[in-house]
Structures are given as structure tokens and as C-alpha cells.
Symmetry: C2
Subunit: 360 residues, 2 copies
DNA sequence: CTGAAAGCGCTAACAA
DNA sequence: TTGTTAGCGCTTTCAG
């Protein structure tokens, strides 16, 4: 199954066009300084022969691969349970495709896999890596950092090693959480609970911090630990109801847990939003819009985050198109949030937006 | 960002071990016929130098790439909304990883993308392709077939072109549907409705066929079209209730639509399973187990399907481990369903299993 | 059983 | 502006 059919080479194209290999190479790679007459001949020959450059040969001499690895490190099977990675992958894929860069997917589960990924990355088979590792104690970021491959993280890596030199793209989790809680407070709610995400993920921690920013003196009983799943949301909500039956608002760390909370509230006979107002996070459409009632939530542009990760990784080397400004600027129409530039590279933090629906 | 640091070459290892490049190559590639003394020296040198073969150089001469493309063609954004692809990707990834083959991910949306994918595949950058294209009218399978790349489809491709020569892995959708409906009938239900999936996907069509196999004379009003989403399930269920308020059982084409149906049934004041029994399909854990009540459903081993796809594509060339028998046999302990061997290649259809929970 | 040598298809100096 | 010439790092005959 391996062998591909014999493909035409540069040599063949050159012969057909009556020029040298070098000239063909120049045309194919869009270099300037080839007389248009020749260029036309070459392009015709390319088309007629159906010539496609051999990436391996090119890679051998350029020492580039035009490939980046996307590492998704998620021990739990829960990974694809929410559409998060899918959306992010989409964004990444779009950007890479536009630059003709291959996306090599690396899925890991378990520690031995980490080592394997480390070896792979250190092996120099790709030009860079986009890494999703959401757990605080994950050794992978460190390993990858050690591999010496240009890397951009998806989400702030919570990694003791040294965040200072890590580039990442994230949304403004803390600010978004503040928006959510302020909204609830603005509604006149005085007993605002928080269902957290897994305490070992930075996004969950940041959202919790946002909650505390607005309500620094809130009763600790108003905070219950969830895990970003509907089941976790249910458990947390039950606990909250048990501890504080008078709760009148809930900020859930993501839409999935919010949906679980909604279910428990309904079961308990409470009306949403009249009795208890609920706000989620993510604006995962299939979840938020289908929720009952539809969920007020904090939107983050996940696909755009993926796009930016890829753009950031490839920055500079791309024949990048439109965009005006320096650095990570893009041609899109979205307004970008703060762009924190740290020592080694930049970190982009995208803004969030409160989307009002019926739950709050 | 592109340039990887200078890596040790075969030459360097050879020098260090005091042998020729050829010998190092043999050892590295596990060929027999190298005296153990030398092999040991070589392995030591490899380790000391941290040598990793350069894939590009190897590829250039072997004309293999040790890479396969995974093509996910889904116009709608809904793709990753259910964990289906994620699980399948996991299975694929495991098998490829075990064989040291790269997974190149190709996401498409829209027709222009199809052409791009066709070009990519025809370009001979990968040794094969694993393709998910679930829509009957999708031109992609045809294009890919034309590209002359070894291909295995995920799910029976519904493609006019000529299924005869297409290899695929699927689960026994039709048989599974029969199990579900028979179960309902066995429960004494006499007005068994069916919520279909999108009529342009083979899996949905096959499941519908299974329903009809068992209930060939069922009232057409007992069948409503869904789209594999909870929202679609809700709509369909409402329609069914409207048309046949006396319905006493529902077979939903997947768990997601079943969850929507459950919600509507609950709203309508019906008890599940006492008044209406519900069976889903997929056994998507986060959905089926969390459903209220937990869903009786038809399980398919999605991850295993992915594994088999990869194994089938790479069959023969792999230094495959354990497994006894011929063809697609595997070392796993799962019992495989029918293995239809057609002209060109084999099609594997995995068995399904009814999982009883509380909804039926 | 081991080594020497010839490329795989391409790009990048360097000449012309 | 174009062509000539070396390799990139590896596998693979073919001798020894």
C-alpha cells in the first residue's frame, strides 16, 4: 500500500518547458526574477504533467517541514465530549491550510505517551507545536519546552516551570467571569453561587478568581466544585441547594455544568430565572441555545483562538497576507483584547462578551 | 521559527560506532544480519548522540511517508458536537502511533476544500487516507477515489460511484436497529415510533431500514425525521406526539436525538419507560448515562472502528504484532462481526450490542 | 556479514 | 536573468 505512483519530477517539468531545474524551482516557489515568457512555459508544463513538488526532497534541503504538531493531552476520555477542541482544531486547520502547512495530530493519554510526544517533538519532524494541556500538574509542557521546539499553548499553561517564556493564546477567563458575576449582581441578586471547573485547570482557576474579584466576601458555602461536565454541575448544584437553599443566582464555570445545574434547579421546583438566575461560560451553541431556558453566558471565540495560535506559531515566516500592524495582528474584523508581550514571545488574551438569553 | 537545530546524522553515528552508514541503517531499521557486537555499539552511539532518523531523507529514498491523512468532511459546524469523531480519532491515533505513522488531519468545509483535499491526496504526500464523509451526495469520496490513494472510509460511503471497490469500516447499523426495535416489541409495545437521522447519511438510512425490517407495516406517521441533534429529536418527538398521541415506544436513531425526545416526553407529562419506552443508538456515555432516565441504547465500539480503519489501511506493510488469523484479524479480544470481503478490499462491519438501562 | 557508492528530488550558491 | 553544480540524510544494490 505504501508506494505512491511515480510522479513527475522537477527534471521532467524542466525538460518539457525547455528550461533548467533551477528555473522551474523558482517559478514553482514564486520567486521573482524569471522572465514571464519562461514562467508561462513552466506553468504550462507543470499543469500538463500534473507536477506536485515532493515535500520530502524539499524538506531535506530547506530543513523545514511545513508541518506543525497539534498535541492534545487529555488523560480522560472526556476530551471530545465538549466541542471545544473541535472548534479550536477548526481554527488551527484553517490557518495552517492557508499557509500550506500540514497539521500532524498527536493525541496522548497517560504518562508514557508524554515521553513519546517529547521524543517526537525533539526529533525535529515538525516546525513547531500547538499544545493543549490544561492540567496544572501536567509534565508535558515542561517536556515540550525542553524539546526546543517553537510552541504555542492553547490556554495559559499552569506549569511551575516558568510561564515567563511560554507563548499562549487564551480568552480572558477572569474578566469574563467578572462580567458574568457583575451581571448577576446588577440583576439585584445577593446570593450568587459559583460552580467551579476542575481546580487543576487554569481556565477554571481564572474564572473562580473572577468571581472572587467581584464578590470577595462571598460565603464559601456558595462555591461548589464542578468538573466542566453536566453531571458535575448537577452534583454541585445539589450541594449548593443543600447548603444554601436561599441561593438566587449561579455562575457556572462553563455551559455544560450550567446545563446540569439547570436540570437540578428545575427538579427542585425552582424557576429560572425568576427564582434563580444562571449564567454559563463558553457560549457553546448546541448547549447554550438548547438549554432550558436558553443560557445567558460568556462568549469566547474558540475558533479564533485556534487561528491565532497557528498564526502566532508561524509568525514571520508566512507569506502572510492582509493584516496591517505588527506582531499578531490579523486581517479579521474582530477587535482584539490585551496583547501582553512577555520576554520570549507574546501572549494573546482574547476578550469575552456576555450573551444575554433567558436564564439570567 | 522553522529551522530545527542541527541534529546528528547517520554518518555521525557511524563514525562514533566505528562502522559504516549502511550498518547503522540496518540496525536502526531492525534488519537482521548484523553481528550483535556491532549492533550493540551502534545502539550505544545512537543513544549517546540522541540520534533520530530524518524522515524526509528516508522518505526520499523509500518513497513511503509513514503518514496517513485523516479527512473529516463536514460542512456543518456540528462535527465535533457529538464525541463521535473524537473517539474514532482516538482509535486511529492509537493504531498509527503503534506503527510509528503520522496522522495528518485534513478538515474540510465547503466544496473548494474538497478540491484542495483531492489535490493534496493526489499529490502523494501520504501513504493513504482515512475518510469520513457521511453524506450521500458528497463528491469527496469520488474525488478521493480518483486520486488513486489507498483509502478506507469510516462508515459505509453512500456514493453512487461504485461502492464495490470501496473499503470501509462500519458498525452494523441495520442489525443494531433491529435489536433495538425487537427489544421494544418484546416489551409488549405496539406503537413503536422511529426518529430518524439525516436522510442523507448512510448510517441513518441503515438504521431506518432496520426499523422497517422488524416493523414493515408500521404506520408512516410513526416515523419522524430528525438530524442526530437533541433539538432535532425534540422537534421529531413533538411531531410524533401530535400525530400519534398513543405512541408507546420510540427508537431514536442516536442518543442525542433520544435525549431530545426524552425532554419532550417529560414535558408532555409522560413517564419513561412506563408510558413510553425509549431506545437510542451509539451508547455515547456522557449522553446515555446522564440522560433522565438513563438510556437503553445500542452500543457500537467507535474507538475500535477507528483502530480497524487504520489497521486495514496499513494492512500488510505493518510489522504487525500479535494477531492470529489472516486479513483484518487483530489481537484484541473483541469478537468481530461479519467480514464482508468484496472485490478490491474488505469491509468490516462491527457488531452492536443492546445496553439496557432504565428508559426501556 | 559489512562497506563503498549511487542516487531519491529538490534548493541554493555560484557562474555565466 | 538563467543554468550548473553541489549536496541535504538516508536506503540500497553490489562488491568484498
Amino acid at each position: 500500500m505504501p508506494q505512491a505512483a511515480a510522479r513527475p519530477t522537477l527534471e521532467a517539468v524542466a525538460a518539457r518547458a525547455g528550461v533548467s531545474r533551477a528555473t522551474v524551482s523558482r517559478v514553482v516557489n514564486g520567486e521573482a526574477g524569471v522572465r514571464e515568457v519562461l514562467a508561462v512555459k513552466v506553468r504550462r508544463a507543470v499543469k500538463e504533467l500534473g507536477y506536485v513538488p515532493n515535500r520530502a526532497a524539499r524538506s531535506l534541503v530547506t530543513r523545514r517541514h511545513d508541518a506543525v504538531a497539534v498535541v492534545i493531552a487529555e488523560p480522560e476520555t472526556r476530551v471530545f465530549a465538549d466541542p471545544f477542541f473541535g472548534l479550536q482544531l477548526r481554527g488551527i486547520s484553517k490557518e495552517l491550510t492557508a499557509r500550506d502547512v500540514q497539521l500532524v495530530l498527536l493525541l496522548t493519554e497517560g504518562r508514557d505517551d508524554h515521553e513519546r510526544v517529547g521524543r517526537y517533538l525533539a526529533g525535529g519532524h515538525v516546525d513547531g507545536a500547538l499544545v493543549f494541556s490544561l492540567h496544572l500538574d501536567d509534565p508535558l509542557p515542561g517536556i515540550i519546552h525542553g524539546a526546543g521546539v517553537p510552541t504555542v499553548f492553547g490556554g495559559r499553561p499552569g506549569w511551575a516551570g516558568g510561564v515567563g517564556s511560554a507563548r499562549y493564546v487564551d480568552c480572558d477567563n477572569r474578566g469574563g467571569a467578572r462580567q458574568a458575576v457583575r451581571h448577576l449582581v446588577g440583576l439585584g441578586r445577593t446570593r450568587v453561587a459559583h460552580i467551579t471547573g476542575p481546580p487543576d485547570q487554569t481556565s477554571a482557576v481564572d474564572r473562580h478568581d473572577g468571581y472572587r474579584d467581584v464578590l470577595p466576601t462571598a460565603d464559601p458555602d456558595l462555591t461548589a466544585t464542578g468538573d466542566f461536565t453536566p453531571a458535575g454541575g448537577e452534583r454541585a448544584m445539589r450541594l449548593l441547594l443543600d447548603r444554601r437553599p436561599d441561593v438566587d443566582a449561579v455562575f457556572a464555570a462553563n455551559d455544560l455544568s450550567a446545563s446540569g445545574a439547570l436540570r437540578v434547579l428545575r427538579e427542585s421546583g425552582r424557576r429560572v430565572p425568576q427564582d434563580v438566575a444562571v449564567v454559563g461560560f463558553d457560549d457553546m451553541l448546541p448547549v447554550a441555545e438548547q438549554a432550558d431556558p436558553p443560557l445567558t453566558t460568556v462568549r469566547q471565540d474558540i475558533e479564533e483562538m485556534g487561528r491565532l495560535m497557528a498564526a502566532m506559531l508561524l509568525r514571520g515566516q508566512g507569506q502572510a497576507g492582509g493584516g496591517g500592524g505588527a506582531g499578531t495582528a490579523e486581517e479579521g474584523d474582530a477587535a482584539y483584547g490585551e496583547v501582553d508581550v512577555e520576554d520570549d514571545g507574546a501572549c494573546v488574551v482574547l476578550p469575552t462578551e456576555l450573551v444575554r438569553r433567558e436564564s439570567a
